[in-house]
Symmetry: C2
């Protein structure tokens, strides 16, 4: 099996699952912190491990521009380069090409654009995106799609969806022919271990930390990355359904729902997800890209979504917005200047067990680097703990009892 | 005894010592990381503990302006506010008033200045500085001195030194009358514990983590902060000697040598330190403020200096300069772009045992927040490990065998 996925329990439409990757298991529903340029901003890899992150996301667009996929390949792939021994997922670069670069031109071939860093010209095609992602060597890579702009007329949404399907086919063809060129497949062994600490002073090598050859389950682990297809279709339920059906026909080990959280209402997001879920196979992971607020990720997990990613917890943290069990908190607010309570009295993370709101506020208004660190650690803990609670509730068959605070404190 | 200080071993003029504070012991010679505004930039308190920092420095000028000493006092003092349960030292604010603020005017009374933050007017006097430092509640506080500018003519250096002596006397008078107002003295108990993790969800309290009343050595621990005097005298050896003699006449539990590392040659720095050390009592800690490079701190420790502080390891880190056993390394240099070695193959810190030069370079050139974190952790590890090695060498009676790399790699 390309990407082993086991459903271990269900509660309503929610599922407790487990994806087995060559770099460890991923319990689902999972929230994936975004490690844009090979780093989850302000948070070191050991802290991510401690928080329980089992999979993080890398952005192909950013890594391609800097430091470059060939350099990362030479370093042994993204896992080795950033010293992350757990699962990695890379997006295709499509979204950032549209949102970050300038002077972009879309043709059937692909998207030509200028780098937002230095203005140099580049061309992303399905084949190029696959080549880059294979060089980076994530466990899960994404088909190169077109993110339909919002709003979009029906005919425009259809045309865009059709091109995404043609690009998905090209992505798969190239991927199947080249996936074995991934930097970690030569060893064919599973890299086991929750920490990246080297046991000697030697330079990092391709040696896995434990010989998995004796593991009876060894032969079932992926020997190459897995490619997911992406459902588009704008804000049209019937197009979403059709996109899902036709993407399934191409047969991928997992399916994402893209082009959402681009300005539409929460109701519309849910509706588009539901239309796609009606059709996507239940025995493969379903991944909604780019969501969401704490209450959203709980809701989508209950609907049967298995994976989600979003910059929200990390970006909000750097802007002083904390997510807590009592709702959102703008830590820079003067009301916290002398507040000796922990940020979230119900949170057990390293930040809440040690620091006060007053101190975090001081750090933030003083523009101290530690503000970003601590705020981010807490927000990620909140998101990852929330998903852990969801998984636990599904296991107990009581997902309807879960609720995530959505009242704003400030 | 105001501040118990025990010399446990000697090697030449170097001494292995131990200062007992109400917030834990400080092994000397010690290097004190600078936590300017109540935070060592980019590094959380648990990492500082892990690195073995036993004492850090807070800047009175910065904390007075923001968040304000009265707020910190209300929070229970700086230890509680920043959740640092080990020793703290605050400087008097004198240096920053001269180097950071604008429109400052010095009179016999003190220094009036405008805040660099918002231009508001303030007046620092010896009494005011003591009041602020007592409110912050560090274990060791510094007399309010005038940092003689460099260069300075002999007569100017003398006048400045004389004022520092008058201000030292005023500092001590106010301090002795008010030191019991320090926020942690009410409990009179030693706060024991190397971590700040709260065992419950209650707000931080003044309760120490262990009742020290059963500790037979309990009655010897300081019940209030300790005030150190500061030797000035510019770059004139005879003035340095006189300043030291007359500061000792005022009788402090420890003595600092200030006004150095302001542009003079390394030889001059050493000469001025030596002239003061000739006279300062051997049974009390000697603290050189604002130094230095790795080879310097080893050298001064060998001369008999017990404490040092400097922003160099932390500030250099944020500028991409790493200190290693093979010398200085500018991590942004292109030569490291594909270098898979650890930053310092001889360093056992969390950074060197996990990350490569290539990755650190990527983080730095990408202006990632993690760059400051990892670079700072390594540099502090290097400095603290260096001092640990010095202490060990003194214990073995072999300080002359110590050497710190000073060759620049880039």
């Amino acid at each position: 099996m390309t990407l082993p996925f086991t459903i271990e329990a269900q509660s309503g439409t929610g599922r407790l699952g487990r994806i087995s990757t060559a770099h460890g298991d991923v319990e689902t529903p999972a929230f994936m912190p975004v490690g844009t340029a090979g780093t989850v901003k302000a948070v070191s890899q050991d802290i991510l491990e401690e928080l329980g992150a089992q999979i993080i996301l890398g952005n192909t667009y950013h890594l391609y521009l800097r430091p470059g996929h060939e350099l990362v390949r030479k370093m042994g792939g993204l896992h080795k380069f950033m010293s992350w021994n757990r699962a990695l997922l890379t997006d295709s670069g499509g979204f950032q090409v549209f949102s970050l670069s300038e002077l972009r031109k879309v043709t059937e071939e692909g998207v030509s654009f200028r780098s937002h860093l230095d203005g140099t010209s580049h061309l992303f095609t399905p084949e190029r995106s696959m080549e880059i992602q294979i060089a980076l060597g994530a466990d899960i890579v994404m088909a190169f799609d077109e993110c339909t702009e919002h709003p979009a007329e029906r005919e425009r949404a259809r045309q865009s969806m059709e091109m995404t399907l043609r690009w998905a086919k090209r992505s798969k063809e190239y991927f199947e022919a080249h996936k074995h060129e991934c930097p970690w497949t030569e060893s064919g062994l599973r890299v086991i271990g929750t920490s990246g600490h080297r046991e000697s002073q030697n330079p990092p090598s391709a040696q896995p930390r434990a010989a998995a050859v004796h593991d009876p389950g060894f032969s079932e682990l992926p020997a190459t990355p897995a490619l997911f297809g992406i459902v588009q279709g704008g804000m049209y339920g019937d197009l979403r359904r059709e996109s899902a059906e036709r993407t399934v026909e191409l047969d991928f080990p997992g399916y994402a729902i893209g082009g959402l959280s681009v300005g539409e209402s929460r109701e519309k997001t849910m509706e588009m997800i539901a239309r796609a879920l009606d059709v996507l196979p239940r025995d493969k992971p379903r991944y909604v890209m780019g969501v969401g607020y704490p209450e959203e990720i709980v809701q989508y997990a209950a609907m049967g979504v298995d994976m989600m990613d979003c910059v929200l917890p990390t970006r909000a943290a750097r802007h002083g917005l904390l997510f807590t069990s009592a709702g959102r908190m703008n830590i820079k607010n003067a009301r916290y200047a002398q507040d000796q309570q922990p940020p979230d009295p119900k949170c057990g993370c390293r930040v809440c067990s040690r620091y006060t709101r007053a101190y975090l506020r001081h750090l933030f208004v003083s523009a101290e680097p530690l503000a970003a660190v601590l705020n981010t650690v807490h927000n990620l803990a909140f998101y990852l703990d929330t998903m852990r609670a969801v998984r636990h509730a599904i296991k107990l068959g009581d997902l309807s009892g879960m609720r995530s605070g959505s009242v704003s404190l400030a």
